[in-house]
């Protein structure tokens, strides 16, 4: 299956965020690396579920063979996905699940993402202490999924208390101001869980000369670098690979080539990299990548699912570019 024959449509509804940019680059790189894609139609802008319906329908009009979609909302784009399937288009949702039964899903497990990090943090605190809970954007479905995971872990540690819960809106400046404000109140806290706005939190702790507490974040290059270099910082990065987009392309091509997966849903389980143990430190050192843009997750590929090289994803070029 070496000759290029498919066009793939992509729909994404958040622009200007490192994670999503990596996802798009992974899609492009994987499409190029696979050699089976002639053209990518990418709809990539800031919009809501209704806007994504529009984009998906435009992709149907463009008669693509498959659509890789990062859903703005699991249920909100059902009707367009159904229309796509009816038109014989393979639909693969990445990053988050969708409710449309005919769609295939390859997703980071958001609930597990939060659960893993929170559990590590609570254990680190010895099952007891005050935690600052810095969430994502209020009303976003990924945030509410993560909240479920966080609450699940919290239920397992009855002596851990959330002293401060706040929405960063996944904005670094907001996150930084919020933690500085909180530090200024003088309230004691023993750990911080963040929904991916992580390196500015560490910065804030360092700048305000507050004793460092364990911090959980995502595998963003900047934060991973801090875990390796900041003196006295204990923390963990939970992987949330943006390269899931590339995996979505692989899955779509497999289906187009007649290799359907056993299950409609394929979950990519997050990993946790911490620097509390020697073993963990070694792992963190090996994954760190200071040359990468600090907002990009360092897990730029997913074994078994992506075949592009680092140069290819960094070049961020799709077929025909």
């Amino acid at each position: 299956s070496a000759e290029a024959k498919y066009t793939i449509g992509v729909s994404n509804t958040v622009q200007g965020n490192g994670w999503r940019e990596e996802m798009i680059c992974a899609i492009k790189a994987q499409a190029l690396a696979s050699g089976e894609v002639t053209k990518l139609n990418i709809a990539h802008r800031n919009t809501d579920a209704a806007g994504q319906l529009e984009d998906i329908r435009n992709l149907i009009s463009a008669k693509v063979n498959a659509i890789v979609v990062n859903p703005a909302d699991p249920a909100g784009i059902m009707s367009a996905l159904e229309e796509a399937t009816k038109a014989g288009i393979v639909v693969v949702a990445v990053d988050q699940a969708v409710t449309e039964p005919s769609a295939y899903i390859i997703s980071n497990n958001q609930e597990q993402y939060a659960y893993l990090g929170a559990k590590w943090l609570f254990q680190q605190l010895g099952g007891k202490g005050d935690v600052v809970y810095m969430r994502g954007a209020a009303g976003a479905s990924a945030d509410s999924d993560r909240d479920k995971g966080f609450k699940k872990a919290l239920a397992e540690f009855p002596d851990v208390k959330v002293v401060h819960e706040v929405f960063t809106g996944w904005q670094q400046d907001q996150g930084k101001q919020q933690i500085l404000d909180f530090i200024a109140t003088g309230s004691p806290f023993n750990g911080i869980w963040t929904s991916g706005i992580d390196n500015v939190i560490v910065d804030a702790l360092v700048e305000s000369q507050t004793p460092l507490v364990p911090v959980v974040g995502a595998d963003n290059a900047g934060f991973v670098g801090q875990l390796n270099s900041v003196e006295g910082l204990v923390g963990a990065a939970v992987t949330n690979p943006g390269s899931i987009g590339g995996a979505g392309v692989t899955l779509a091509l497999q289906i187009l080539n007649g290799k359907k997966p056993a299950e409609q849903t394929v979950l990519v389980e997050p990993q946790l990299w911490e620097n509390a143990t020697e073993e963990g430190k070694a792992k963190l050192k090996s994954v760190a990548d200071p040359s990468l843009s600090p907002e990009w997750p360092v897990s730029i590929s997913i074994p078994e699912w992506t075949t592009y090289t680092k140069d290819q994803i960094i070049a961020c070029k799709g077929p025909g570019e």
């Binding site: 529009e54 249920a75 909100g76 009303g139 945030d143």
Partner: protein, 323 residues
């Protein structure tokens, strides 16, 4: 004649632009047909209502920054009320939500009148308030919609004997035209409509002409709220859920209002222009997707088109101005 050209020339130009774009679309994608047009109209629907909401306050000399948030609030309210409820219950939900939009819009207007704070600040404040309320109604996207409501914007009308034409009349278009005309046409013909134009054109002159300025302003905002509620319902109808984070409707509505020939100072323009402008903007989006243009470049193109069209408009008015 020249007066007609002067008044309707911009709208006519936009219509021509739309037709040209449509032809281009068929050239890019020869199979682009009635079904795809239906998709376009469904995409237009929430924007069109947002734009109608914005148009009416802009004509009245104001601006409504809370349009998107109002749509979000009405959408989550509708979706959460219909969640798990019977199909018939929606018959109650729709008027309830529309009334809610009307009342909240009126509150916007009253706040402006009573506090005498400029519209832009009041509606910026209510933007936060409505957004907050939406988050309290639904913390995350969810809810449901009655099947019959969803069906009102799917498919096309059937005109017996004219299958060829009726395929080109999506139900969503009918809904849009009916909803807009049912309010706009009587309004345009009424003294109230004149009063709205009057306060937008010159508040002092309107007051001195005996126009009840405060009441008219409140009504303009109430109608804006009503249109925004329609937009919120349209969102719920097309997505089947309610989402508490507002979509990109605020800036889009302002852009379409200006593209549609409504002066941001107030008192000038109609509803048709902005509605056509919305169709144009959506079709541009479609073409960019069909052309598989680099997604980052599309932002540049969209921005450039917006600026270029308005510049062009400014340029021809400059040329046609008697020297």
């Amino acid at each position: 004649m020249t007066r007609l050209v002067r008044r309707q020339g911009w709208v006519a130009g936009l219509l021509v632009l739309f037709v040209v774009l449509f032809v281009i679309t068929r050239l890019i994608q020869p199979g682009y047909g009635s079904g795809d047009f239906g998709s376009l109209v469904r995409a237009v629907l929430p924007y069109a209502f947002a734009v109608a909401a914005q148009t009416i306050v802009v004509i009245a000399g104001g601006i409504d920054l809370s349009v998107g948030a109002m749509m979000a609030l009405t959408s989550v309210t509708a979706a959460s009320m219909m969640d798990g409820a019977s199909e018939e219950y929606a018959l109650f939900v729709v008027p309830f939500v529309l009334t809610m939009g009307l009342v909240l819009g009126a509150v916007n207007g009253m706040l402006i009148v009573v506090t005498r704070v400029p519209d832009i600040v009041v509606t910026l404040a209510t933007l936060f308030v409505l957004q907050g309320a939406a988050l309290l109604v639904l913390g995350a996207p969810g809810g449901a919609v009655a099947e019959w409501l969803r069906a009102t914007i799917v498919g096309t009308v059937s005109i017996p004997g004219l299958p060829g034409i009726s395929a080109w009349i999506p139900k969503a278009l009918v809904l849009l035209v009916v909803c807009l005309c049912i309010i706009w046409i009587p309004l345009k013909r009424s003294k109230l409509g004149l009063s709205i134009y009057a306060i937008g054109s010159s508040e002092l002159a309107a007051f001195r002409s005996g126009v009840p300025v405060a009441r008219t302003r409140i009504i303009a905002y109430a109608l804006s709220g009503l249109f925004a509620a329609m937009g919120g319902l349209a969102l719920t109808m097309s997505t089947g859920i309610g989402a508490p984070i507002p979509g990109p409707y605020l800036l889009a509505s302002v852009a379409a209002v200006v593209l549609g020939g409504v002066a941001l100072g107030g008192g000038k323009g109609g509803l048709l222009g902005p509605i056509v402008a919305v169709f144009v903007l959506r079709l541009v989006r479609t073409d960019l997707t069909l052309l598989a243009i680099d997604p980052n470049v599309t932002a540049i193109i969209e921005g450039a088109i917006m600026v270029a069209v308005v510049m062009f408009g400014a340029f021809i008015t400059m040329r046609s101005r008697p020297s």
